[in-house]
């Protein structure tokens, strides 16, 4: 499969900022991958994501150099209408991306804006509600929903536009641990069922390391590490870049360093527990 996202030598400086928010950034993401983007606050993650869905340079002005291509088309040369259909964006706070008075109307919001005919719209809204398993919420008002439900509604609105690439910006930051785990399971299911590519910005790495294909670490607007989660977490000192290393990794590193125990490079608590008990994994 080809690359759905290609970032080549991207640099961007906001017009009122003293320095670049992103500098000389390169990245290529093959179709169907789940990629986790990590880094401390202010490292340029949000800016990078805005360049992928076109908010930069179409909404935010500044000094832009390099190129970002989605599905082979340059973001700079595309309009927001086309980009909205190829890149879905789930923002951190779902409250601020639910516009309408009922769930089904909100899921239809993007399709209405695109002028999709009613019959097709109805089918796509029902499909998105079904994928997220929230058909029973269709007539509910946003203020009647929990945070987890709001997150699902917002994601349904994104998926109804059938994007090839979906960006999730800290999707679990407002969720309790159980709902956060459910969201991760949902991402895995959607990737399997739809073949969608996901780029997830996440601070709680332990949630996603078992399912991610790739981990990219940013600091100071630059990429400081990239590879499979195992290679990055066990091969690099990502903790020094302001990333919260998962407890599972830390335990194994401690065992390797202090006790001389061979590191098996396990990513999830269940894998570690099974290894400790001497079971086959």
């Amino acid at each position: 499969m080809g690359d759905i996202l290609e970032v080549e030598g991207l640099s961007f400086k906001y017009s009122d900022a003293p320095r670049n928010a992103v500098s000389g950034f390169n990245l290529a993401i093959p179709e169907g991958e789940i990629v986790v983007l990590a880094g401390p606050s202010g490292c340029g993650k949000s800016t990078l994501l805005r360049t992928v869905n076109g908010l930069i340079p179409h909404m935010y002005g500044g000094e832009y150099s390099g190129d970002v291509r989605v599905g082979g088309s340059s973001v700079k040369g595309s309009n927001m209408r086309d980009l909205a259909q190829s890149v879905g964006f789930l923002f951190q706070n779902p409250e601020n991306q639910i516009f309408m008075f009922t769930v089904e109307r909100d899921v239809a919001f993007g399709l209405e804006n695109l002028g999709v005919p009613r019959n097709e719209m109805r089918a796509r809204v029902d499909e998105a509600l079904g994928l997220l398993r929230i058909g029973d919420l269709a007539q509910r008002a946003p203020h009647e929903l929990s945070d987890g439900q709001k997150q699902r509604v917002a994601l349904a609105g994104v998926l109804a536009m059938r994007p090839k690439l979906v960006i999730l910006d800290e999707p679990t930051s407002l969720l309790d641990p159980r709902t956060a785990s459910e969201l991760v399971a949902l991402v895995v299911r959607l990737r399997k069922e739809l073949g969608t590519t996901f780029v997830v910005v996440e601070h709680r790495l332990d949630l996603l390391m078992g399912v991610a294909d790739r981990l990219v670490v940013m600091e100071g607007g630059k990429k400081v590490a990239e590879g499979t989660p195992k290679d990055v977490l066990f091969g690099e000192e990502v903790g020094t870049h302001g990333v919260a290393v998962p407890a599972v990794t830390r335990v194994q590193k401690m065992l390797a360093g202090e006790e001389g125990v061979g590191v098996e490079r396990l990513l999830t608590p269940s894998e570690l527990a099974a290894a400790v008990e001497g079971r086959e994994i």
Binding site: M59, A84, Q97, R105, L111, L114
Partner: protein
């Protein structure tokens, strides 16, 4: 005040009136509004109110409409007293007093049975500019969110020693500043995030967006509309042909 506002706030319902096409509800309320203005006899006014009360009962919102009527009756009484003092005409004074109740009830019935979603649809049907309709949608949609924000800010400021209920009127007004500033800042931040989310979902991509909602006139729509038109016709006929127009 909350008690009164209940007479104008929509609550979901399953009655035949709730299920009417929003255009029928608007037409009915507008016609009753105009009929109230045209009616020149107490009998016609009573007919209008009886019609609205009947619809309110069918819409299972009679108690809420009655609450509005009770409150409105206070103002109506005032209108009656002022009129009788100046005109010395019982019929005219009674007519004006009842007219005020009829106008408020016709407006109230529309708002308590029409969801914001339907209001938005009506605005779109009248070809209002998309930005104007969306400004209305956003304003109504975020009322509960802003209320929650306000409560949280008030709690946070109270926990830091702010005494909202103390002092004279000026002091109390000044005490609201630590509530209002964070609320405004929150709203500005929220509006920025909203703008990004709108762009990401193709807002403004086509000049005439489509809609998921489909409305079709049914027998109940036709029945209510016909009854409203008939009442309006009676009032219009008597206004022009039966009772000469007299202005006190």
């Amino acid at each position: 005040m909350m008690w009164l506002s209940g007479g104008f706030i929509f609550r979901r319902g399953e009655s035949f009136y709730h299920r009417l096409d929003p255009r029928t509800k608007l037409l009915n309320s507008l016609l009753m509004f105009v009929t109230s203005l045209l009616a020149r006899s107490v009998f016609e006014m009573v007919l209008v109110i009886a019609f609205m009360v009947g619809l309110s009962a069918g819409a299972t919102v009679l108690m809420r409409v009655a609450r509005t009527m009770t409150f409105t009756a206070l103002f109506s009484g005032f209108i009656f007293v002022v009129n009788i003092a100046f005109t010395r005409n019982l019929d005219t004074s009674l007519l004006y007093a009842i007219r005020f109740i009829a106008i408020v009830v016709s407006t109230s019935l529309f708002f308590i049975t029409t969801s914001p979603d339907e209001l938005e649809q009506v605005m779109r049907m009248f070809r209002l500019p998309r930005d104007v309709v969306f400004a209305f949608v956003t304003a109504v949609r975020f009322i509960p969110v802003m209320m929650l924000d306000t409560i949280q800010i008030m709690d946070a400021q109270k926990s830091r020693g702010l005494e909202l209920e103390k002092g004279n009127l000026i002091r109390r007004a000044r005490n609201m500043i630590p509530i209002l500033i964070p609320l405004v800042v929150n709203s500005v931040v929220r509006s920025g995030e909203l703008a990004e989310a709108m762009e990401s979902r193709a807002y403004g991509a086509v000049p005439r967006p489509t809609t998921l909602m489909a409305y079709k006139a049914r027998m109940t729509d036709i029945g209510v509309a016909l009854a409203a038109v008939a009442l309006f016709a009676v009032a219009a006929y008597s206004f022009y042909f039966v009772i000469p127009v007299r202005f006190p």
